[in-house]
Amino acid sequence: MEYYEEPNARVALGLRRPEPGDWYHGYPEYHVERDDDKCIRCLVCVRQCPYDCTFYDPYRHGVYNVHENCVNCRRCEFMCPTSAIRMTKWGAGFRDNDNWKQKTIRTVYKQADSGAVSLTGLGNDREYVSYFDRMVIDASQVTNPSIDPLREPMELRAYIGKKPERHTNPPEVYPNLKAELPVIFAPMSFGAISFNFQRGLAMAAKEAGTYFNTGEGGLHPDLRQYGDHAIVQIASGRFGVSLDYLSNAAACEIKIGQGAKPGIGGHLPGEKVTWDVSRTRMIPEGSDALSPAPQHDIYSIEDLRLLIYGLKEATEYTRPVSVKIAAVHNVAAIASGIVRAGADIVVVDGFRGGTGAAPAVIRDHVGIPVEVALAQVDQRLREEGIRHQASLIAAGGIRSSADVIKGLALGADAFYIGTAAMVAVGCTACQQCHRGRCSWGITTNRPDLAPRLQPEVAAERLTNLLHGWAHEIKEMLGMMGLNSIESLRGNRLKLRGVGMTQVELDTLGIQQAGL
């Protein structure tokens, strides 16, 4: 198997610095501590490590590590049957310096080694302020009774799409998504994630009465049966787009941008374009799948309108059309334009959103938090009297049911969860998605790694997550004296801010705690 290369002789002898000029790997970040008394030489760790970090030396009958290759994915630690392995940080690191932190220095080494863009996966990991964590929620005391969701009905159903401004007889009806809870699986393409994971997402979405999003990688023929629960993306590469793809889905989504990498495209390397990926994306096997930075037929808002109505025509006005943008500085005006261009759903993806691969400099420094973007978009659409024309989905940085509650109160109709869904199936947030050798079988299609995640297991864990969140959302609604999410949506009186400036409070449209 090509993936099980024997370590080269230098490494096998325990000589470090495998390549001259590789300063990045010269300083290990993590240390794989192995208790030799506990180790039974079962070699699970050796077989599980996809990062060439663990090897067995038959001459010494021992298991050894190339620590500088360790990414702290914790797969070996998790799998070790005798708990002999423990991950620790390597030594003291560099001299203490709040400005030149280890990560900063190592990134410079890496670039000086390679002359390349520093790539990464997952979402922005920097210490920006989290507005979610600075908002607190209201509860009923005396003047109105809190409601016990175990005894009383509690409604989480969300209709997502355009609504009429006023009731008529007979009523105007627009196609809407009907989600039994306002949480939808975020766009993650087959190719970026494993087929098994996408299948697990589809199964869980069907089970929980919500939706998954294909991302830009097309819909695999085996997932066609989940079309009623699929939101299909039309991105700049137009991978996998056909009439069947559009009309077999619950909704179509035009991807303009992604919170983790606003303004740039994507690149799925040819070696990841396997036969299965190739037929799903409708590109030749082994060819690079390049997503241009813009959609080359959308250079302005009127072009967007053409594509929106092109999709509506193609689906005979039976599906809502969504437009997904990254949260950037003038997001409110952009969202307003998108609604006026005819979108039924606007997805605003904040800068904490994840990615299969992005330049670290962009992931970490571009875009704005989804909380403020959401608050501003909702307010702008209301001021313009067009809030009913589109639903608002917040994405990028939703970690818990508390974030969902707070986002609802700020004005979102529903939420995308991507990273949370990955963590639910085993992701340890090691940020190696771009390397295509995810040790948990989530962001890889390597035939030795992908089967590590089984769709049934993924589906069960994802369903559990949604179930748990739904319970928590119901408890929090009941605690506020509400029994339906539509009475929380945009109800900013239910939020208060702690530790924010007045400008921040005003931007979010909430009051200081205590007032």
Binding site: S140, T143, N144, P145, I147, E152, P153, E155, R157, Y159, K163, P164, E165, R166, H167, P171, E172, V173, N176, R382, E383, G385, R387, H388, A409, M480, G481, L482, N483, S484, E486, S487, L488, R489, G490, N491, R492, L493, K494, L515
Partner: protein
């Protein structure tokens, strides 16, 4: 005007936060249109004395101005001479006034300090009937929002609201309500947890001939208010009741919904119940819920909605506030407590507790085709 000495303000709102209050409510309508004095409603609301704390009470009465039946009757309360001058100048410039006078008051009991009350019987000049209502609504909003120290208590035809700070029975005496005759009376006894001395915050809250007395707390207030603001309503009073009135106005007057549909919007059926409805009914309920999701009232409430043609009672959809309805002859009573009805009408034909979220609509006979009972569902008792 002894009330206006010193620096006391009755109309400026003392606090910025949402007003929270609990209450007792009672209303009755003589469906044949017979007018009766305020005596019965006063005895009814006084019977629920302990549901208030002396910080607010009020009444709405329909049919009290037969001599000016076609004119909009503006009841306005004032803090000072400047507000009077400013408001009267505005009225002179915008309306044709048929008659104007001070509302007679009689200080007593808990009501010793009070603002000035005046009423004006006016016509909107040179505008169509339907537009006249819109014209009046805008004028009322302008006075309330722009003229400090002036507050429009009511503005409908052949009706009036009387409200203030004090126990309702004292306010009734203060406003000499025994001397008015109406076919529809509603009353309110307030238990606010803040805003002492705020006369405008008392119920009923009105818009044209619509009046609302309300017991409850609207937990969805935040979104209801933002929704209404997108239709141009300025929610200046920070009371739950204000949004109820504006939602009625939006749904019924501006969007042309029936009162039944408006009730479906405000206290929507649960999805689990909609899913079991016949397809037509389910489609309509789904459309109403989708379209007016932000107008749904969530939280405990019972309110009485009065208009020239009838009286409507509505509970929240899980019935977290009391509401009882009774009929005796041509009279329909709706109240927080049965005792408030029995005290004025010991023998009743029917008495029932309305089903959560289902409106009870008692129209004047002149407004309906048949003289049918208003009873539905709930527990029906003969007596």
């Amino acid at each position: 005007m002894p009330s206006m000495r010193g620096n006391r303000h009755f109309i400026r709102r003392p606090h910025q936060e949402k007003d929270i209050s609990a209450c007792g409510i009672i209303g009755f309508i003589n469906r044949d249109g017979t007018r009766v004095s305020g005596d019965a409603i006063i005895r009814s609301i006084a019977n629920m004395h302990d549901r208030g704390n002396g910080l607010g009470g009020g009444f709405a009465a329909y049919g009290i101005y037969p001599e000016h039946a076609d004119a909009y009757a503006l009841h306005i309360m004032y803090d000072d001479e400047r507000a009077i001058a400013e408001t009267e100048a505005l009225i002179r410039n915008t309306l044709e006034t048929e008659h104007a006078e001070t509302i007679p008051v009689h200080p007593n009991g808990t009501v010793t300090e009070y603002p000035e009350f005046r009423r004006y019987f006016c016509h909107a000049p040179d505008v169509e009937e339907r537009d006249a209502d819109e014209y009046m609504v805008r004028l009322v909003m302008r006075i309330n929002a722009k003229i400090e120290g002036a507050y429009v208590v009511s503005s409908g035809r052949n009706m009036g609201a009387f409200k203030g700070v004090g126990f309702p029975e004292d306010l009734a005496e203060f406003f000499c309500l025994q001397e008015y005759e109406a076919y529809l009376w509603t009353a309110h006894n307030r238990f606010p947890t803040n805003t002492p001395g705020w006369w405008g915050g008392a119920h009923p809250f009105t818009l044209l001939d619509w009046s609302i007395v309300h017991n409850g707390e609207i937990s969805s207030y935040g979104i209801n208010r933002r929704y209404l603001e997108s239709f141009g309503y300025a929610c200046t009073l920070m009371t739950d009741t204000e949004v109820v009135a504006y939602i009625f106005d939006l749904l019924v007057r501006r969007h042309g919904l029936s009162f039944e549909q408006a009730a479906t919007v405000m206290a929507p059926p649960f999805w689990q119940d909609i899913d079991r409805m016949p397809p037509d009914e389910a489609a309509e309920a789904t459309a109403l819920r989708q379209t007016y999701a932000s107008a749904a009232l969530n939280g405990p409430f019972a309110f009485l909605f009065g208009y020239n043609g009838g009286l409507i009672g509505l509970n929240d959809r899980v019935k977290l506030r009391p509401l009882v309805v009774a009929e005796r002859g041509d009279t329909v009573y709706m109240a927080s407590e049965e005792s408030a009805i029995r005290v004025v009408s010991p023998d009743l034909d029917t008495l029932f507790y309305p089903v959560a979220g289902q409106p009870v609509i008692a129209r004047l006979y002149s407004e309906t085709a048949e003289k049918t009972s208003v009873a539905h569902g709930g527990t029906v008792h003969g007596n």
